[in-house]
Subunit: 339 residues, 4 copies
């Protein structure tokens, strides 16, 4: 086998696992997806059949024990991430892991320490950094098209809430949804957050409140470089998946709009209108998932730094925990308190 092909095993064949399987099997020539594991053996077998993966198993350790496998893609439930990361690192496998690493900092720190001592590559699945719109914002900053960042407003709204059962284990809105926006804020401002303040509430379904979550939240962040960001989340955007940012810089501004399936504008006696935006993250961000995995494969094959590293995995969890604490204690939280 050529040195230019990365041999990969997939751990977890749920929705996001299938997405990565499709990309690894069909769209990334430099990768070869050889094994898939899922505690649900049927899911593993179906994934294997669909994407012509030679070997399916219920037991992810079979992947870690296979010396042919160079890298693993971890898409198992969040509460297993830290453990699987450590075992994979100890087995010498390079690791791509879905976000978040874990829901608490000690677990993250322990996993990161094991990865560091193993010396393997470790990339976190913050795919939005690879989306053409967000990259264009970052590029505007790098090219000095708008000067230094000053005010960032992130809008990130889902068309509907996940099942309650998911919310019970996800850590809630700040950890399962806004975590992407915390990552995006760090990515675009390119500085670390010093203070977090939250206002939030249950505006749609009291059942969400009964399990301790909110469905609507606005968070303000102050960065070390002076920039200020707001993030607004809703789990109930009736018009669909709303994913936009606006960034004011010292000499200009940039904003990005949603993505649409077509550009058609229809005019009649009632209104001038267009169809709703792409409905959810699998459609909206599909290209970015492919690009992040391509980047991971390249990083391993050519021994380059991964584009989203362990610190990028840890920091948004800190911010999510701080945002939640701010809501609970009704005061701004200094990030120093969280360390």
């Amino acid at each position: 086998m050529s040195v230019d092909i990365l041999r990969v095993g997939l751990i977890g064949a749920g929705r996001i696992g299938l997405l990565h399987a499709q990309h690894l099997a069909g769209h990334i020539p430099a990768a070869s997806l050889l094994m898939v594991a899922d505690v649900n053996e049927e899911a593993a077998r179906e994934c294997a059949q669909r994407f012509a993966i030679p070997y399916a198993t219920q037991n992810y350790q079979a992947i870690l024990e296979n010396p042919d496998i160079q890298a693993v893609v971890i898409c198992s439930p969040t509460d297993t991430h830290a453990r699987v990361i450590q075992e994979a690192a100890q087995a010498g496998k390079h690791i791509f892991c879905e976000k978040p690493i874990a829901l608490d900092l000690p677990s993250i720190d322990q996993a990161v320490a094991v990865v560091a001592s193993a010396g393997v590559k470790f990339q976190i699945g913050f795919n939005r950094r690879f989306d053409a719109n967000y990259r264009r914002v970052r590029q505007a900053l790098e090219r000095l098209e708008i000067g230094r960042p000053q005010i960032l407003n992130i809008t990130s709204r889902d068309p509907g809430p996940p099942p309650l059962a998911y919310i019970l284990v996800s850590g809630g809105l700040f950890l399962d949804m806004m975590i992407h926006d915390f990552d995006m804020a760090r990515f675009l401002i390119d500085s670390e957050v010093e203070e977090v303040f939250t206002m939030a509430g249950v505006m749609h379904d009291p059942a969400l409140g009964e399990v301790g979550d909110v469905d609507t939240a606005v968070v303000m962040l102050r960065f070390a470089n002076g920039a200020i960001a707001t993030i607004n989340n809703s789990r109930y955007a009736s018009y669909g998946y709303d994913q936009r940012v606006e960034l004011l810089g010292s000499s200009g501004a940039i904003s990005i709009d949603n993505k649409y399936a077509n550009t058609a504008i229809i005019s009649d006696g009632q209104s001038i209108r267009r169809d709703l935006p792409l409905h959810f993250f699998l459609e909206r961000y599909n290209e970015s998932f492919l690009l992040e995995m391509t980047a991971f494969v390249d990083s391993v094959l050519h021994d380059r730094p991964v584009p989203v590293n362990e610190q990028d995995g840890r920091a948004p969890v800190v911010l999510a925990l701080a945002a939640r604490r701010s809501l609970d204690e009704r005061r701004p939280i200094s990030i120093d308190e969280m360390r």
Copy 2:
């Protein structure tokens, strides 16, 4: 009375006459509207009362005979234009006249000849040249932002047809509606038309066809400088007044959109939409009517060339007649044939 104030008489107090009265009375400090005439004496009196005009009359000759009046604004029916123009010119009054000068070329040429020998100012009411959007297109050409003009597409559609009674005396779509677009094509291309070709039909109301008119027409023009233009007209744009142009130049392109009462975009479970554009020409072009009259007043007071002259009044009539002939004879018409 200061030499800086132009003393004006208004002939015709219908819809467009009232509009000019409002501007002359309230918004053009350099003009003083002293008299108004209308064959309908009641209309004249109401206009006078509404805009505090000192003198109202049924007889426009009273205006022409008044030595205090320096200029007249002719808003009487089209079939009276040529005669009133000549009388006004012979009385030494400067003239602003609504378009078209007349529906036939001999009448136009005779009126223009009298105006020329009288040496008075003579401006035609092609107001759209003063609209901010169209001026921006012209400016783009003058500033060389898009290079030399190559392809011009004019969309000009009304929200509904005028009364049949109007169409019977208006000369039909080419003379009452597309005449504005012929003027605009000349204004933007800044060259003369050499050839005209028309396709048109009655697509909505057979009654329009029975009086010899069409409700939908597309005309193609070839200009002396090589540029090609299309004009499309409909009397039945269900979504409102649609007034746009697109111009391709040798090094760029410019397009203008409609004007809207507000910029609001509403998103819900059905669509992303906005309200319809400004409904008709009085709203859409209000500012341009004020600017054209201000320009006329300035031209007279400071003895400068008028911005829309007799040739600008004649040429679109030639084009309208040629477009109609092209439709009737199903062949392209050379403008040389029309002279």
Copy 3:
């Protein structure tokens, strides 16, 4: 004189006074502007000449003492508002007063009390409520086009800072600039604010910081009805006057864009682009200034409630003071603390 014409005196002939004079003199038939006062007598005389106001004076008390005057429009410096309001009310004049009423609550409360006991009309100059864009947002709520308000984001940025001398007496960004946005938040959410949190800084000119002001600020508001708002202000928007809102409701969303002098889009080898938005508030909000004054005149003539009352004048000052305190004390401020 007809009972349908309101006889008005203008107090203060600076920039905003001239604007109101123009509207009262030329565009509001139901008003007659009879007197103008300014401590700078030359300014009063020039204003009188320009708008044909019969009487100009250095002494505003001449206006208050004139029994023919029914209403006054107060455009004098902010620190004189409270005093002039009281004197005018005691003289039985109806009052239109520019915002803010005063920079401190005791002055406001005293002025409001005098007005109340005098029983005169009292309208505050929050003109943006009359702007077509903001009205459309309010209308969307009233028509239930987007459901109940949940998240409001207000962007309000100036193209450049005022002179330092102005800032020294204006009360700073929260009182001279964001006060409009506090009013807008109340107008659109139609509920009262319960909590305020601020992050802000000096990002451009240290001189602004030396006089105790900021040039960039983001404020978060929680309303009694549960809605959350953010306001972001900058005194240095390089691309011009940026005045937008986005409102998420329970069943939809609405956003408004800036206003532009034209709709032209130019495409060339470099970019697809349009001209900058209308540059500053006199252009952007001109129509709203006319409409607010028309509404005031109508309220007095027909004895109807004014559309922006004393509570609408007081509440934004409370919010501005709270926002400043939040910045100084780095904590959220409950509005209960401010009363």
Copy 4:
């Protein structure tokens, strides 16, 4: 081998052949690309290596003689299409052929006759019908969102001209470029053209004129159902690939815009702007190429009518020849003349 997989051979491994190879090999699970032929053997081999095609040859007859091959995709030069189509049909292969079928009607008619008697599927490569924007226009008509079609304006401009050598064999602008727009006009109006009129010229490079072609053309079409269409083409759109349509219907209108790599809007002291549209057809229409081939594969496998048939292949050639004749003879051409 499963009956659900179509075994395909590719004839021609140039630019468009490579595109189809990529789709057939990697993105259409129901197809298996087994052979590739190109007179340039090196090109065939490179294509085979890149997309893991088992067999490459200089001789396309090897494909036709292989009984395992069920269908061929013809991407050879236009002047070979008619001959290869006939041979493939006689060999019993289903056929996907790039447009145009041929540059003259006798060749087309002969090829179509052979296909008909062989009873094989025959699809023409008018990919734009599969583009999401154009499909949405068609859908608006089918759903009666805008009523009956009345005026269609097609803008279709290339960022730069092809090499002169290509133009010498392509048939010129009407056959190599506007042919797509003739197809689109028929697809959207869903009626046949009765009359064609052309104005065109050489506005950029005299060399194009010396070989008998034009670089800028505007064509007007009248359809049997009364609708009127204009098509404007330029080989020199400085701002990139411009592919738009606007359609006025009896109760509404629809327009589609270009596609862009991102939605970012950048504002600074100069302008409000965005990046140029996707640069050329391989990027702009990539998805549509995949969808047309998927549709072909499905048509063969499930014995359904092809979505773009032989009449769809012939009619645009008739229109292109008529448009050229109209230009040469400076008169409208009835389609009856062309039969």
